[in-house]
């Protein structure tokens, strides 16, 4: 499974991790050795201020590693950088400062700021550098013949049984179908799609028709696994939501964990085809008001 980066030169996640460690390291130094650090950058020793800045750095660093919203935490670093630059500019004017050292420190902070801004931009835009464009690929092996899997998928009306965010798919004719998809806040988004490729027992491709709120396309390939071990199923999906509010909301909806969503859907496909049912715990008893766990089950199952 991978998310392609067309325009991206730097791996933004790796960059974010680097910045995270940098934050934690610098923050700890400020907390533990504020006086030495002040001397190093050539400003008056103010341990309490330094320790507070250190705490901010550590918090940003830990936040970046928290995984949930690294973009926002990197943005918090940008805000912190601005604060530091302001303080350093003020320090430059004071005669308690060693000008040369403060200038070097300012240049260093400016450099880090540039990295922070770049990273924050890349993290909050889509992986293709274009806001919200999403590309996902995922593969699974199913203990059945390509023919059986192909015939399930060839009838798009079957897909809501395995794909959680699909409300319904209706075949309009042999090529075209109408898709209704859940979107945040209990609303739905709809579009018409047409089959673009079809190779019996091997390949199906589709894409949304002109005028769809969410421009999207997908394909599924069925390859006989070696050694008679069933079929390798490869799914590829692309979403290109438009700009604007709907686009942003949808991008967020599909974009939060598109890989996880496709992984879950393919597990369901495999479960349904191999065992005749999809395992569930919704509706089981528990010593709480809900049958499942909001934190774990609901999050994972989408």
């Amino acid at each position: 499974m991978r998310t392609n980066g067309g325009m991206v030169k730097v791996d933004e996640k790796q960059l974010a991790r680097g910045l995270g460690w940098f934050s934690i390291g610098l923050g700890l130094a400020q907390i533990l050795a504020p006086r030495q650090l002040a001397r190093m950058i050539g400003v008056r020793e103010r341990p309490i201020l330094f320790r507070l800045i250190g705490l901010r750095e550590v918090a940003s660093g830990i936040g970046i590693f928290s995984k949930a919203r690294p973009a926002e935490w990197v943005q918090s670093r940008v805000a912190g950088d601005m604060m530091d630059l302001t303080l350093l500019a003020a320090a430059l004017g004071l005669n308690t400062s060693t000008r040369g050292r403060v200038a070097v420190a300012t240049a260093a902070v400016a450099g880090v700021t540039a990295l922070d801004v770049l990273c924050a931009q890349q993290l909050s835009s889509g992986p293709n550098g274009k806001p919200g464009a999403i590309h996902v690929e995922k593969v699974v092996t199913i203990n059945r013949s390509p023919e059986e899997l192909y015939s399930f998928w060839r009838n798009f009306e079957n897909l809501p049984r395995i794909m959680n965010h699909l409300v319904s798919v209706k075949n309009l004719d042999d090529k075209r179908s109408h898709w209704v998809v859940k979107s945040p806040g209990g609303t739905t988004v709809e579009w018409d799609a047409e089959m673009t490729m079809e190779k019996p027992n091997e390949l199906i491709g589709w894409r949304s028709l002109e005028g769809a709120q969410v421009d999207n396309s997908g394909s599924v390939r069925f390859e006989r696994a070696p050694g008679g071990r069933g079929t390798v199923v490869r799914v590829q999906l692309d979403y290109r939501p438009p700009a604007g509010v709907i686009g942003a909301t949808l991008a967020k909806f599909f974009g939060e964990a598109p890989e996880k969503q496709v992984a879950v859907d393919l597990h369901r496909f495999k479960q349904l085809i191999e065992t005749g049912e999809i395992p569930r715990t919704e509706g089981q008893p528990a010593g709480r008001s809900r049958s499942t766990s909001r934190v774990y089950d609901d999050f994972v199952r989408g």
């Binding site: 203990n143 069933g230 495999k270 191999e274 005749g276 395992p279 569930r280 715990t281 008893p285 528990a286």
Partner: protein, 392 residues
């Protein structure tokens, strides 16, 4: 119905909850007549297993009577007496068809969570965290059994519950641990941990042809059971240096196979033990592999280290150089219980073993919290607790 639910570290409570319902065509509902507390439940009780949620119903060793079946279950009928294996297997996937039931590809609805943690997902397990499916467990008056057409074994003779209950987990678990040792005539097998799984590993090692079994623990009652019921020689690690003692007992070579029936919360002493306790408390490692390290270092060249003990995540300072340079084999896994049900029931029928020997405590389900407490603290010489859901 009444069910024993998890609410946090050292906090389980018997609560009134809804009765389970059939949710899928291959489900059955079992009215539970006996349900045991497993040593691995203590890892939940002690808060070492991640992804538990308040209100989860515990328990994965249970048996009872079928009271309802789904439309696709043809081999069971209402009134059948069954023992339910702890891993949930679909019977259809590549792994189930190879007999590797505990790594079934289909039974964990939270597979993507497990994939994050472990790379790939194993089977779902009753009452054993949301990482393993978030299924309601069997320390309750009723349980829903998924894929009931392939999992439970019918008990059609007059055995008591306690003679067959442990087919659900600990007897096959001890047996698979011994089988993994690939015992040959004349072999010496050392077993770390004389809890219920260790006791069954000792018995099974002899059933599979071991010449000698050496059992290691620190509780006199457990060592006593290993000697008297299992026929093992015993070592108390609080009295002797285990590596030296094993060396001496095996002519300087080491046991042919070593079984770690302890797992992630091993005890020990000295600096290394303090180091592991601290790292685990600080969440820098999830497991304290003290028994595993000792088992590896003690095992003879070319021998097998078999690990039925439960590990959750990451363990430090595993002497892998010793494994590699001395040609050791490590065999482990959650037990593929379904594979052993029939053959082990036959061994019970032939009188080769009566698994009820491990039971030391019988309590009504209502007293499950007390059961956990005495089992955890080894009070009153506790080795195995069986809960009776319908007794007051």
């Amino acid at each position: 119905m009444k069910a024993n639910c998890w609410y946090g570290k050292n906090d389980v409570r018997v609560e009134e909850v809804d009765d389970p319902k059939i949710l899928n065509p291959r489900d059955a509902i079992v009215k539970i007549t006996s349900s045991a507390i497993c040593g691995s439940d203590l890892h939940l009780y002690n808060g070492f297993v991640p992804t538990m949620s308040k209100g989860d119903i515990l328990g994965h060793e249970f048996m009872g009577e079928v009271v309802e079946v789904g439309s696709a279950v043809k081999n069971l009928k209402v009134g059948d007496r069954v023992v339910v294996p702890f891993p949930i297997a679909c019977g259809n996937c590549f792994f189930c068809q190879k007999g590797l039931f505990s790594v079934c590809e289909n039974s964990n609805p939270n597979a993507v969570l497990a994939e994050e943690m472990w790379g790939h997902s194993p089977a779902g397990i009753y009452g054993y965290s949301h990482l393993l499916g978030g299924y309601a467990g069997g320390q309750a008056q009723y349980a829903r059994v998924p894929y009931a057409d392939v999992n439970p074994i019918k008990i059609e003779n007059g055995f008591t519950d306690e003679q067959v209950l442990f087919l659900s987990d600990i007897f096959p678990t001890g047996y698979m641990a011994a089988e993994n040792c690939q015992i040959q005539g004349g072999d010496t097998v050392a077993v770390w941990g004389c809890g219920p799984v260790g006791q069954f590993a000792i018995k099974s090692a002899y059933l599979l042809g071991a010449e000698r079994v050496i059992a290691i623990d620190r509780f006199p009652e457990r060592l006593g059971m290993a000697r008297e019921k299992g026929g093992a020689e015993t070592l108390n690690y609080e009295d002797v240096n285990i590596s030296e003692a094993l060396e001496e007992m095996t002519g300087g070579r080491g046991p042919d196979s070593c079984i770690d029936a302890v797992g992630m919360e091993a005890h020990g002493h000295g600096a290394i033990y303090a180091y592991d306790r601290m790292k685990q408390a600080a969440m820098l490692e999830s497991d304290r592999p003290i028994a595993l390290r000792e088992a590896i270092m003690s095992c003879r060249n070319g021998g097998t280290v078999s690990v039925p003990g439960v590990y959750g995540g990451f363990a430090d300072k595993i002497p892998f150089g010793s494994v590699m340079n001395r040609s050791l084999t490590i065999k482990t896994g959650q037990t593929h219980v379904q594979r052993y049900l029939r053959p082990l029931l036959e061994r019970i029928e032939k009188g080769e073993i009566d698994p009820s020997f491990v039971v030391t405590h019988r309590l009504p389900l209502e007293e499950a919290p007390r059961g956990y407490e005495i089992f955890k603290n080894k009070e009153d010489d506790c080795i195995k607790v069986v809960l009776k859901p319908w007794e007051e």
